[in-house]
Amino acid sequence: MGSGQGVPGKHTAGSSLLQSVSRRDLLAGTAVTIACAFVPASALRLTRTSTAAEVLTSTERQALEAMVSRIIPADANGPAALEAGCARYIESALAGAYQSLRKAYLSGLAALNAIAMSNGGKSFAASGATEQDKILSEFEQNTEVGDYGDSAAFFELVRRHTLEGMFGDPSYGGNANFAGWDLIGYPGPRMFVSARMQEMDAKIPLSRVSAKQLVHGSR
């Protein structure tokens, strides 16, 4: 594409990352290590402050946190969705990209609390794990959920968003310390993938970067 100087869309392989990768490294197929080294070590531990906009009350947030903790619980296979930041992911999405789903969340979470209350006199978050699982199973099956009309749709919505938070890019507030990617063995995003890394028995080093770190060198 030698022509087209000054074309707005023209952008050759000149991102900051690629400029840091020498031609020799590319030819040798070792750019992956460069991609890791490029990110400052301090950025690897994704410490987070509470930057998410708040769109839930404490009661609602506790119900959501309890719900994601049962969808992906803490056990021998790793932390729960809550520790991985899935509730935080969902709440910040509800303040932005998923604004239109806020009402569905508020009424769904209210229904969870109402049913828990009528069953055992406690909020959903304060109920025991067995009781929480029983209520969620009913939600999933769309049975025995009082006035709440479409509980299965609500369950599916929260399940889908929990998976997004757990396994999506950490820059959205979930997948803290790469908990989701470690669970399923995903080695992480990287710019350059060698032929060897695509063999079936390849041992692939973990990239330990978010997509935004990879491309822009920052979160």
């Binding site: 022509s3 087209g4 050759t12 063995g185 032929a195």
Partner: protein, 568 residues
Amino acid sequence: MAPVKLPKTDVVVIGLGAAGGFAVLPLAQAGLKVVGLEAGGWFQAKDHVPDEIRNNIRHWPHAVQKANQEIPTARNGRDGPALPRPAYHPMMNGVGGTSLHYWGQSWRLTEWDFKVRSETVRRYGASAIPAGSTVEDWPLSYEELEPYYDKAEYTIGVSGKAGNIRGTRDEAGNIFESPRQREYPMPALRHAGFADHMAEAAKRLGWHSYCPPAAINSVPRDDRPACFYHGFCGSGGCPVNAKNSTAVTTIPQALATRNLRVVPYAHVIAIDSDDHGRVTGVRYLTDKKEYFQPASVVLLAGYTYENIRLLLLSTSKAYPRGLANNHGQVGLHYMSHTRNGVMGLFPFDLNRWYGTPAQGTSVDDWSDDNFDHAQLGFIGGGNLLVPMELKPIEAASMSTFGKAPRWGSAWKAFVKENADRWTPVWAQISTFPFEDRFLDLDPEVKDPLGYPVCRLTVGLKESEKRAMTFMQDKAEQWLREAGASAVDKLSHVPIGLSTHAYGGTRMGDNVETNVVNRWGFSHEAPNLGILGASVMGTSGARNPTLTVQALAWRTADHLVKEWKSIAL
């Protein structure tokens, strides 16, 4: 307020995607002054982040959301129930269009696809044509389009391995392809471990697998690198410009001639015509301000749904039922591939994490007319594809194959073990037009500007269900041979919105049953050309883009040669 009238140009192209963004090059090179109207804006490589949430879940929030605000509705039959209306449209707006984020699969159709009716009647008798089908032979043959396929492959840049050069077959490529004049401009994409594993299984079955062709660099080309195989190609733009979208290939080349002017953020609302039935130009909105771009020739190059909608919305004295629709053919002969796949679960890791979908392996033994259909109750068949590339949310959203619940600790243990132990085998099945499947305007649902959205009337035919069952059995056979311990077949449901939408402005010599002539120009409005899969009369068993591009170049070529008679 009257629209702002702009200076007249030779040609205005509506939509700068895979089709329009390709056709501008031969026009500009011939010296014609071209204005390209594009609803979206420009993207750079650094806009393309390997981020599954942004690309695959939220569908490019940084892009103009025109397509997402006018999502068509769909219903299962004329009197049937509405089908679910998805939250996102599969196509996008931007300079380069959906070629920015497609899989890049760049197939040719086969000789058979161009003469399905006559070949079926010849081999199986007239009764083998499915009842109610309006399928016709194309007005051109594969041989006539071959030079344009070649042009498209070499202009855009396609990686692949020929399986049939002038009749000489090579098992390293696809031996079922129709003859090509020469090898691909770039070798096939790199081999990947699991794709090779599936290729070996196909070989044991006596099938012929090959690495499918793709508009992705397998080697450096021009000043752009070879694919980095980073694994975010499906619905993702390329961060190193190794994917050959029109935004990095033909559009910059056309701009360099100084004969193309790109107008981004131009939301086209109508094509105007005079009392003699000739089109006069295009009206569009930018920032709520209306402009009129007069032109000697208009090329409509939106996606199929928008092509049909824009024609039907462009009513005038000469065309009271919509532009180029005085024979009532706009929107008819609509089809899309039936959605068909089989998931396989393996007792070992597959390492599908990286790569690019087209890097997989494909089988054509059961597509087109490559096998005897005498007792099968359907015609055509499907291309089978095992794609590479697995993204983490996609991986965790896998089928549980009836072996685990969908949440909780047992599910967590299941995905921990199996997230990289499953694969789809996709079957793209050739579909044919039927008299009761069509596109029109929805009587109720409107876009934010108040214009009706497109409506799909679809449905699944018995012959199609038989073809799907047949192909799913083949896919299962392949997976089992490769070591799969369980399979999960997608259910047979009518497909709504599709990224492979064909027909609606069909190409043919008969003005009573077709919208455009053999060159892609309207039978009724002689200076209106239509580009895109909406002109295709059969789908073939594979992705449409390369055929769309070959046809677009041919239409542009014809316009250049016949400029005086078309433009007047």
